[in-house]
């Protein structure tokens, strides 16, 4: 299951929980990715909308792909406001062998950026401004204008 939390993530707690979960599963490798809000463009933070049903389905497809390689993926993401220098995203891949984990985390994070139904806003003066210039059209975009 995708884990969603309001506000910034307690990364150490989530990492600890996942690591401890993994210890008796006989995985040899755990690779994790943490995304932290950078202080740039004079923002106070970022804010996120998440559409859970399609996010979960997208994630389930990745979990099946991981399973076929003997691996497991976990992810957690923020909903709402995340201040500068706190974290909004953590993902981890567990696998018996390191190559699988190193390759999967890379592919997973890139596809996450391109296709996970999450919308990002800059927070400035308490207002949310859609980060359109950093956003990506999902696969299949535009069909409603294709008549």
């Amino acid at each position: 299951m995708v884990e969603l939390y309001r506000g910034d993530l307690e990364i150490e707690q989530i990492f600890k929980k996942w690591y401890e979960w993994s210890l008796d599963k006989n995985f040899g490798a755990m690779v994790s990715f943490v995304g932290t809000v950078r202080d740039e463009n004079a923002i106070e933070g970022l804010s996120f909308d998440v559409y859970k049903p399609i996010l979960q389905e997208w994630f389930d497809r990745w979990q099946k792909r991981a399973q076929a390689k003997g691996a497991v993926i976990k992810m957690a993401h923020s909903i709402g406001n995340v201040p500068v220098h706190t974290s909004s995203f953590i993902a981890a891949v567990f696998s018996p062998k390191r190559r699988v984990a190193l390759e999967l985390i890379d592919e997973f994070v890139e596809d996450f950026k391109a296709n996970a139904p999450i919308w990002k806003y800059d927070l400035k003066d308490g207002r949310r401004i859609y980060a359109k210039d950093r956003s990506h059209k999902m696969d299949g975009s535009g069909i409603l204008n294709s008549l």
Binding site: I54, P117, W119, K137, L147
Partner: protein, 73 residues
């Protein structure tokens, strides 16, 4: 009636329209200038499944979602 919902930054309340398929939905949305400007950029889901074709029949109670450009992480 089919429910059309606008996710993320589109910031519009759901619409309820008569439509027998996704083509009907496309025609009606193209007629609204506020919505039309989003259509090139939006992916589409029917009952929370992403679709890549307009040849999809719809029935009463179905839900069509518009997903504008994303940026998680």
């Amino acid at each position: 009636m089919v429910k059309v919902e606008f996710l993320g930054p589109i910031g519009k309340e759901p619409m309820y329209i008569e439509a027998k398929n996704l083509k009907d939905v496309a025609k009606k949305l193209q007629a609204d200038p506020e919505i039309k400007k989003w259509l090139d950029e939006c992916a589409v889901a029917v009952n929370d499944k992403l679709v890549t074709s307009l040849d999809i029949p719809l029935k009463d109670g179905d839900k069509v979602s518009l997903l504008p450009p994303v940026c998680g992480g």
